[in-house]
Symmetry: C2
Subunit: 551 residues, 2 copies
């Protein structure tokens, strides 16, 4: 039996090596378009930036090492130009060969990955993209003498590229067509990331289109011009499904190869995995494209099991992801608020700003965490985190809780490893559970940063329960200062009617709200406090000023 695998990186190579472990006798041929297999895809930007100094570190395996260890027939520079499901053949053009050759297969695995999107912008051909080792080499060469760079697109890759080009000493502009970078995050969560990019010298242009690219720079939609010795296109990726589509395999609306839960395409002998395929969303079962390395690797393993005769189904995806941005950890799992709102799905949002570890132990830093919860059944719908430490851990814990079907309030009961250098006796994840539990029990009611204006317009009064020093350093317009420690003695000073209370992060505000509610007052606590509100305002102002520049 012969299995041919098209694509020799994450999903394809996981399939190939697993298949060999399961079946010593199978002929396994891996056909890779580029000159490299098993390379460190997610490390490419960091080699451009010199963070991973040795190019060889990116090359985890070679065709030779894979032949020795796994008995794989790995052929690089082998682009498959056609496949014929009816005859079970692929047509491939070996390097240097005059004619293409045909290979027959018993099983075929498509693992072609995704292609960088090239938007229809005049001159965009000049822009470099980052997909493989060759692209990386080209980028390293192009940036060697460059002083200025424009990165088009503020997604994960664009932001990683911007950081790494700064590491290389370039002046970098990052141009993003929407009002925010890093789409998996909500605007108030990404605001500190924007601030960090700007602090580190990135010329960040949000809500800004690129009109044209030419030999010396980029012209923006607003007419401004950015000089650029190097232009990088990182607008996003689309499934590399040309071959599948040309062969008549079913392809989804957004270009992804359609597969069932066993990674089977519409042809019974052809499987597909990784960034090229349509996945099922864990929340609603809808079709989604989730170009993530961990998903690709797992699918590669699972498809090998299926081909070898005993495969488990691939689960719907949450889409847990993380990116580093100049020392910030920016992570997310599940759905964000934007998506929940767009889909009309009810939700509750919870914002907290805990320390990554006990505040009394040196080096503690603040994390911004956000949890999204289904108000009907307290299911966890998603989470986001931004901070310099401990975000990966909390996102992973929440993703695991989601996989285990824990309700949000059950986060309170999680027993997490505590010593002061690693966490808190009440871990940030426990705290999310405490806040949720209070809401489930009807003990507390919150107002979101973007709902505050409407609440005040409806006649609520805003009480700032922080200290005078905090108030002086920045306050919400219209807020009346009554420090929480004075509140019991100053009930009489409170305005009549509904109240919104707030503190810096929500904790003192919660105490104040509990206190006032017991006085018979109608009161809500500003979720996430001044800090979340200020981040939300920064996000809104970025959008408005960008809109102004457009207008």
């Amino acid at each position: 039996m012969r299995t041919i695998i098209i694509g020799g990186v994450a999903g394809g190579m996981s399939a190939a090596t697993r298949l060999r472990r399961l079946d010593e006798s199978m002929e396994i041929i891996v056909l890779e378009r580029s000159g490299y297999v098993s390379f460190a895809n997610c490390g490419l930007p960091y080699h451009v930036g010199g963070v991973i100094p040795e190019r060889s570190a990116l090359l985890l395996q070679t065709p030779q090492s894979l032949a020795r260890r796994f008995g794989l027939d790995v052929r690089v520079h082998h682009e498959v130009i056609a496949l014929d499901p009816s005859r079970k053949t692929v047509t491939v053009r070996p390097p240097g060969a005059a004619e293409p050759t045909e290979l027959t297969y018993d099983a075929l695995v498509l693992a072609p990955g995704a292609t960088p999107v090239q938007p229809p912008i005049p001159g965009i051909d000049r822009a470099l993209a980052l997909r493989d080792v060759e692209d990386t080499d080209a980028l390293v060469a192009a940036t060697a003498e460059a002083r200025t760079a424009v990165v088009i697109g503020g997604g994960f890759i664009g932001v990683e590229m911007a950081e790494n080009l700064v590491h290389r000493g370039l002046q970098v502009a990052l141009v993003e067509a929407t009002a925010q970078c890093l789409a998996p995050l909500d605007p108030e969560m990404v605001a500190p990331v924007h601030a960090t990019l700007v602090e580190r010298g990135v010329d960040l242009r949000l809500d800004t289109a690129v009109a044209a690219v030419d030999a010396t720079g980029v012209t923006l939609g607003n007419g401004h011009r950015l000089p650029a010795d190097v232009v990088i296109a990182a607008i996003g990726v689309r499934p590399d499904s040309r071959l599948a589509a040309a062969a008549g395999l079913e392809v989804g609306e957004r270009g992804g190869i359609v597969v069932d839960e066993f990674c089977r395409t519409s042809d019974p002998a052809i499987y597909a995995v990784g960034d090229a395929v349509v996945k099922k969303d864990a929340q609603d079962g809808s079709d989604v494209l989730v170009p993530l390395a961990n998903t690709a690797n797992l699918q590669g393993r699972r498809v090998a099991d299926v081909i070898a005769g005993a495969g488990a189904a691939v689960r719907p995806v949450l889409g847990t992801a993380i990116v580093g941005v100049f020392g910030l950890q920016v992570g997310s799992t599940g759905w964000n608020e934007k998506r929940l709102r767009a889909s009309g799905r009810p939700y509750r949002a919870i914002h907290t700003h805990p320390s990554d570890h006990a505040g009394y132990y040196p080096g503690a830093t603040t994390i911004a965490l956000k949890l999204l919860v289904d108000p009907a059944n307290d299911a966890i719908l998603g989470a986001q985190g931004v901070g310099t430490a401990g975000v990966d851990k909390r996102i992973d814990i929440i993703a695991t809780a989601m996989a285990g079907g824990l309700r949000a309030a059950e986060l309170a009961d999680l027993e997490l490893a505590y010593a002061p250098q690693f966490g808190s006796a009440k871990d940030p994840v426990n705290m999310l559970g405490f806040v949720d539990e209070n809401q489930v029990r009807g003990l507390s009611d919150t107002v979101q940063w973007h709902e505050l204006d409407a609440a005040l317009a409806d006649g609520a009064s805003l009480i700032d329960v922080r200290t005078p020093g905090e108030f002086a350093a920045g306050s919400i317009p219209g807020a009346v200062l009554i420090p929480v420690d004075e509140l019991r003695d100053r009930i009489i000073d409170l305005p009549a009617g509904p109240l919104v209370v707030h503190c810096a992060v929500g904790i003192r505000g919660h105490l104040a709200a509990m206190l006032l509610r017991q006085q018979g007052r109608e009161v809500r606590n500003l979720d996430g406090g001044y800090r979340t509100w200020a981040a939300g305002m920064a996000a809104s102002q970025a959008r408005e000023s960008a809109s102004g520049a457009h207008g």
Copy 2:
């Protein structure tokens, strides 16, 4: 209504503040034996070591700050000397008062914590312990001029104290009565921790009793003598249940106060939380003492809910814990192998040695992970981890998976946040799932480090599939070297009969085992490879040499 809370640290103060949020009108009196409340219990050793330089950092709240913010009546230096459940009174001796006074309560919360165990050793009175701020002050004073210290007891506190005394520049001996420190870990997992202690200059004496303490040092059971300007007793803690027992409340065999899942003692108006109470084990519902800050804090919150009229049950405990040891993170959750074996409960053990993050990204370090699984239903029974980074995260993920009822094989499907600086596309937790899945499916069979001798005695041959260089640097006696990359061509060189294969950590061994099994060979892979075996041998030798010294 008046609630009196005895003990003003983790569980007691969590109860007090939560109770106030729930009920503004309740009179809440906190009686604290020592001079401080809400202090950073888990930070005390680090202040002794100067890691937390400011003493004030340990003092999170004062009676005054708690009065202002929470309207609590907090009385320090108030030792309760008796309680009378029939009259609902506590008898307390205020500082400086000639006579004790009596206070009545409607509800009483016992949160007295645990007391350091003082073993019956001549001269032990000289030894200092570490329970509260006063103890910490005494230790700081005692170590100021000291050059030598002996720490008796290698539990979490003893090991933390040994490290921190080294930070202060003392010559430190750590004397542990059993064959290993850090009892929650199994011996092969703790071996690298022992090595680290020795490398950092700690004179580590395992399997060693202390016969006597005198003014200048410590005499060991084996007759050796250790000089000691300071002696610290950290043998362990026992529930501080004297008051409860004297009042006729039900107390468990090991001295813990017996409570139900709502933290109610045998008296309907008296509750108890924290280190002083008996908890239910999550695995088998048995009575356990788990003196951990996170459990105490959660119980404090829950008991307040109960007293206020709407409390949820406290869950049985896994006992997730972590300790730092000279930069090593040493974590665990659930049951260990020792306990499983002692209880006669069937289990499978899995050892891995993954990198904390992608190996190609700078700074990756190796973690030792161990997973314990129920062979009947694939339930996760426990996990342990040792390494310099990322252990806390993996233990927390596994603890969360256990809380969510995930089977071990389902760890394979977890979607964990991946970027090369934070993890791997196949995270260490996913890898545990892969290994388990192979065992569940009968694809692989392993032999544990401590079973190897018996397997070889039974006639199995041992094949080392590492490289000649690795073999030369250290090998298992009797192993025949056949590198995995040569195995397919050297099947004929293999001895007849059953085989055990091994590599450094288990991955190449797995490939070799899969390959040989398909050749019809009876083969097992040494779980965790040479690394786990060597750690197990180090643990065994420590035990034997200690026994020799005794004999």
